[in-house]
Amino acid sequence: MTFYSPWSLLFLLTVPAIIALYLLKQRHREHTVSSLYLWQEVLKDMEVRSPWQKLKRNILMLLQIAATILLSLALSRPFLDTPFGKAGNVIVVMDTSMSMQASDVAPSRLEAAKRQAAGLISDLPPGTLVTLISMGGSAVIEENLSSDRSRVLDRLKGLKATYGTADREDAASLIQSMVKQYPGTQVVLFGDEALDSPGIDVKFSKLSGNGANYAVTLLSHTRSKNGISVLSRIANFSPAEEVLPVSLYADGRVFDAKNVRVKPRETVNVYWDSIPENSRQLECSIDRKDSLDADNTAWDAVNPVKSARVMLVSEKNVFIEKAAALVNSIQLFKTDFPGADNLKGYDLYIFDGYLPEKLPSDGNIMIFNPPANSLFTVSGEVELPHVEKSRHELLAYVNDYSFVVGRMKKMAVPRWAETVLNSREGPVIFAGSPDNRRIAVFGFDLHNTDMALKPVFPIMMTNFFEWLIPSEVKNIESLYPGQSIDFNLNPKAEEARVITPGGESVPVAPPFPAVAFTRTEGIGQYLLEQKTPEGKSYHYFSVNAPSERESNLASDGAASPAGAQAAVSAGNVADSGFSLQSILLCLVLLLLLIEWWVYSYGF
């Protein structure tokens, strides 16, 4: 047994004080009797002379001393040594994913989990080092190897459920590395889904009430002749068939409402047509109270399609023309070398084997087979370079490196750029952003390689066009809370900021280039505002709840990773360590009751 606050045992000094108080003449309540005639006889028999003898039979005093001792022990927080007692280190993992917001466990899964975890942490033996990890969109170490119980509890109290999906792999790898460092560390997970961490015994306290939940799992749009058509998917995660009232809002106004019949554990596609062309924000929501509110609404942003103006400066290059034709939003203009000076007003310039003396002041630039220039060093040519495989994101989905480059320029990669494709002889492709503009340089002529004849070419070109033609926001369809997002800001933008659904204004740039935007923890419509000399431009994007992973509150439906721990009840976890304090306090209460009884009814 260990005492958490042994100094409280000093309260035991009050025991002699109690005895001393009893030794002093006790205060007697006056009670008139008709005669002492009989009492004198009684007391003659029972006369006690020593004060100690008087104490011997005083049950009230004995009860009080017992209560004092127990109270002192309770204050010193005695703790029974248990398996946890020898652990030394305990990792408490709190699932803070969106499903923990569910109210099917009162008041919410996370609050219940916090309560359980607080109980567990309070009961841990003194000296135990507690690590608190929150498992939201990423695993975050809230408190590392702390012996300060109140600090850990404060941190625990401050945890909030996110809208994200629990990053189980991240958490598992974090736990594994910690356990590796401190063998014997106990791991307890409070959440609604087990954690697969091979080789580590993760005690799992499951919080799930199998609550009924409905969700809008998808909202997307297409443009058609009749305006915008919208597809929404309504999922029913409850065990009963439901008719759900679903509304579609366009720019904050109700556009239409439907009653949708959804069978249990099924998803229904709901189509909405003829939505006005100029609508910018779409919102679809289920107007029915359920266990999890966050996924009852989904958002979609409709941004005007702007076709990019691309200027191709080339003697003749059918490959580039064909590749550019594959991208819908490109409007291609062509000119030959003599007309290439003083170009202006294009989003992208493609220079094929030529560079003007003075580069255009606006737009991004793609350069093939560069001549000597002031932007970077070109020194001679290389024959048949040995191209190496690349993992650069501009070559995403490019898997076939069997193409051959016959001849290429020998180039030095400038400071502002990084190599996209390399060869033993030097860089083949590099790209970078000098002064808020993007430049990609291909060291070869497309006529000197068979690459243009292979499937990899259109893939690669699409990647480069996506990067070079600013579409402002990438991946808008699949943005989930916690994901980061790269903005392709307008090259002319002087200032850019994002207005979150909560109305908060988050500056994105300057400085340029803009760093990835990571403040996507809330769900709803976000607005990117860019200030250019011509005025402000707006671009909407939406962050939706990760309903595929988090909306199914039924525990059987949750995809448990293979080999997951069998569910351990909270009781089992709590059993592993508890203080004797509450038991002692109960005993004190019992003693007080006995004392009251003795006092009231005599002995």
Binding site: Q26, R27, H28, R29, E30, H31, T32, V33, S34, S35, L36, Y37, L38, W39, Q40, E41, V42, L43, D45, M46, K54, R57, N58, I59, Y599, S600, Y601, G602, F603
Partner: protein, 285 residues
């Protein structure tokens, strides 16, 4: 009408007297017959037979002559003087229900019964010595005086039974003495009884106790204060103490009873919770 003797009490009194007529003549009366043997059969009067009369006293000769039932009345039992000694020490003015109330009501009833039976009644209040007395009241009309006397009675001080009885100026001659007391007294009870018997009295000892004296209601630490003397004793109530008190109490009762038996005294233990009827029945049994 006073609180002590309210209408309820007076109604009860009437009923008690009717009921006790037989009891008196068979109980107390039986003891007094020997007072004057010669006159005990002295004819006094005739009266028509009424229900509940002893049919052995029907005059059959008169019946033969008039075909009506007559009862012969005799004089001999109607002269006995009854002395009621009432303890008026402070200890008697205690308890719930109060001993003073119960004892005075008992004295009133006994006086009324005696007066109804043409006995002379003397009332004496006794404390540390004889306090006050009302002597030789006769006839029902005197009952008002009895009530007045009892109502004005004041309680205070300790008791000395022997001194009080000795000072009462009791005349020699046969009679009945009824002593109503809680017996928490200084002087010897036995001496008082001896004195009364020396004065040729048939002694009735009505031992009046409050329920709190039988079963003391005590708990925790107490300072017991004697209501008469102001003396005190500190006690800490334990079940052992209560048990010891009960032992002493039972011994006290037993020794008093034994003394009474030895001296031929009618000992009647009463508790203030008892009904008046019950008390009377215990006296005149």
């Amino acid at each position: 009408m006073s609180e002590l003797f309210d209408s309820e009490f007076l109604k009860k009194l009437q009923r008690l007297v009717i009921n006790s007529r037989i009891v008196l003549s068979e109980g107390m009366g039986g003891n007094r017959k020997s007072r004057s043997k010669g006159s005990s059969v002295e004819f006094s009067d005739y009266r028509e037979y009424a229900a509940s009369d002893d049919f052995r006293r029907v005059d059959w000769n008169a019946y033969g002559r008039f075909e009506k039932l007559y009862i012969k009345l005799f004089m001999e039992e109607r002269e006995a003087p009854v002395h009621v000694f009432l303890d008026t020490s402070k200890s008697m003015d205690w308890g719930e229900p109060n001993k003073s109330v119960a004892s005075r009501r008992l004295a009133a009833v006994l006086s009324y019964i005696s007066l109804s039976n043409y006995d002379t009644v003397s009332l004496t209040s006794i404390g540390s010595r004889m306090e006050e007395s009302k002597a030789s009241l006769r006839g029902k009309n005197s009952f008002k005086e009895v009530l007045d006397f009892l109502e004005k009675m004041e309680y205070g001080g300790p008791t000395d039974l022997y001194a009080a009885v000795r000072d009462s100026g009791l005349k020699s001659g046969r009679g009945i003495s009824i002593l109503i007391s809680d017996l928490f007294s200084q002087g010897s009870l036995e001496d008082a009884v001896k004195y009364l018997q020396f004065r040729k009295q048939e002694v009735f000892l009505c031992h009046m106790l409050a329920p709190q004296e039988v079963n003391p209601e005590i708990n925790a630490s107490l300072r017991l204060v004697d209501i008469e003397t102001g003396e005190y004793r500190d006690i800490t109530a334990t079940s052992r103490l209560v048990k010891a008190y009960k032992n002493v109490y039972h011994k006290f009762i037993a020794s008093t009873e034994a003394m009474c038996r030895r001296r031929g005294v009618n000992y009647i233990k009463m508790e203030t919770t008892m009904d008046l009827d019950q008390m009377i029945k215990m006296v005149v049994r």
